[in-house]
């Protein structure tokens, strides 16, 4: 399994953000994680990129165990992940090119390799004409595509998308979802946290519902959402 949660709980003071989570994600899966605000979706993501550790239980991601990982191992784990946020988190003082190039630069790629990969990815994302623009000069949809490009530039094994369409209008959201599906079809495991699982076409993903830190039995769903 690429990702496994074994009886994982995360408490902040006495408040349970996640409780007794049992979850496995296989290579190449598209997992849709749904639930209301504060249900624990973001906490679950943080546990995957090990920005946080569980209070109890073990999270294992691509061979890295939360109970054994050292701070020095975090960069190599995170280079296997791509993360997309609802608020894009693009660096405002850098161009589109520099934002997308960042994960390659911090991994020590040569300038030539960086240019080749970034140009090719920007072309795929139809953003080549925007490569010298700054984030504030882009539309919301373009910013999110840049964020996805940044997440994908280093060929991650897993793409975590935390409410990537939360700030976008329906048409742009649809395009972003299509992009995530394409990425998944190309072999990358995608975990998408969303308020609106209906955006994902039926039969293309596995659905999970989080409610107040607990995974709700998927059998209580009617395909696209909770009863």
């Amino acid at each position: 399994m690429l990702i496994s949660f074994r009886n994982v709980s995360r408490f902040y003071s006495d408040w349970p953000a996640l409780e007794n989570i049992e979850l496995t994600v296989a290579l190449g899966e598209f997992l849709v994680l749904s639930g209301p605000s504060g249900a624990g979706k973001t906490t679950l993501f943080r546990l995957i990129w090990m920005g946080d550790l569980p209070t109890s239980g073990v999270v294992e991601v691509s061979g890295y165990r939360s109970d054994r990982i050292r701070t020095g191992d975090l960069p190599s784990l995170r280079r296997k992940l791509g993360i997309v946020f609802q608020d894009f988190r693009l660096l405002s003082d850098r161009t589109v090119f520099d934002n997308v190039a960042l994960p390659l630069q911090v991994a020590g790629a040569s300038p030539r390799a960086v240019r080749k990969r970034v140009f090719s990815l920007l072309a795929e994302m139809e953003l080549n004409h925007r490569r010298l623009s700054y984030p504030h000069e882009l539309s919301g949809g373009e910013q999110q595509r840049v964020a996805i490009a940044r997440a994908m530039v280093a060929h991650p094994v897993i793409l975590l998308a935390d409410e990537p369409t939360g700030n976008l209008d329906p048409d742009v959201s649809k395009r972003v979802i299509e992009l995530l599906l394409e990425i998944n079809r190309a072999g990358t495991t995608v975990i998408l946290a969303t308020h609106d699982p209906k955006q994902i076409p039926a039969g293309t993903a596995r659905y999970l519902y989080l409610d107040r830190g607990n995974l709700v039995n998927p059998t209580s769903w009617h395909g696209y959402g909770p009863l």
Partner: protein, 291 residues
């Protein structure tokens, strides 16, 4: 690795470019603070040079009794030259003493004539000491030992001014170290605050770098570089300003500027204060990879 270093350097330049104004203000603050220290060093260096010259002349002079023959005096000098702390001894015969007197005090040469041909200045032994033995305590100890030797009439070793000279040299050395320490601490705090502000301003960049897998040193190096540049450039700027002031004043107040070793020391102090400040600033500013 080279590409990674280049990228880190680029990040450092972005840091400085983004807040060039506040960086220059910090640089000026560091330069001016260092300038006070540099001026203190120049004064200390020159006072220290005077004191060292005085200390260089510290020695013991034994005046021998009239009945001590030249052979006995030379034997005594040989005995003393073998003692610990003694660098060299020199026997001054009555005739040589008289010649020296006439050369040094020509206006009082008549005095010798008045005292008559039967009068002779006493012979003496001049003892030069190893540098470590030029302190008040050690000179005093040696003077007490030789004063008890057979044939010795009197011992002169500057016991009036030597304790003051020794403690002045000691005090000056301690003051320089103390001033350097205080300055290094205060400048570290200034740099720490600047770096903390820089980290706060670039919080998102730091966070994103950590999330996309940047090694810890890659995130920290630009801030460390900023502290180092601030410390070195600030201390170099202060040396330049102090050098200009020193040049202007040299005709009215003759003095020497700092020697190369001290200049290097000031630059090193600047670099250390900058690096320590960066470390303090990053410690409280950069979030842990898990936060």
């Amino acid at each position: 690795m080279i590409h990674l270093l280049k990228s880190s350097l680029f990040e450092g330049m972005l840091n400085i470019r983004e807040k060039l104004g506040s960086f220059l203000v910090t640089l000026l603050m560091v330069s001016l603070s260092f300038m006070v220290f540099d001026i203190f060093l120049v004064v200390s260096w020159n006072v220290g040079a005077v004191l060292s010259d005085e200390q260089e002349n510290v020695g013991i002079e034994l005046f021998l009794r009239e009945d001590v023959s030249e052979v006995e005096a030379v034997n005594l000098a040989d005995l003393i030259s073998a003692m610990e702390g003694v660098r060299s001894v020199y026997y001054v015969s009555p005739l040589e003493a008289e010649a020296v007197f006439r050369a040094d005090l020509p206006e009082q040469a008549d005095l010798l004539m008045l005292l008559g041909p039967q009068f002779h200045l006493p012979s003496s032994i001049q003892i030069s000491l190893h540098p470590d033995y030029r302190t008040s305590e050690k000179v005093g100890g040696l003077a007490r030992t030789v004063s008890g030797m057979d044939g010795v009439e009197d011992v002169v070793y500057g016991h009036e001014y030597l304790p003051g000279l020794t403690s002045a040299v000691d005090m000056l050395g301690k003051l320089v170290v103390l001033a350097g320490l205080v300055l290094a601490i205060s400048l570290s705090l200034v740099v720490a605050n600047t770096v903390r502000l820089a980290v706060a301003k670039r919080a998102l960049t730091v966070k994103i770098m950590s999330i996309v897998g940047a090694p810890g040193w890659f995130v920290r190096m630009p801030f460390l570089g900023e502290g180092l540049v601030t410390g070195i450039a600030g201390s170099a700027g202060s040396l330049l300003l102090t050098g200009i002031i020193s040049g202007i004043l040299s005709s009215s107040i003759p003095h020497n500027f700092l020697p190369g070793k001290w200049i290097l020391l000031v630059l090193l102090l600047g670099a250390s204060a900058g690096a320590a400040g960066s470390w303090m600033g990053m410690r409280s500013g950069i979030p842990k990879p898990r936060s």
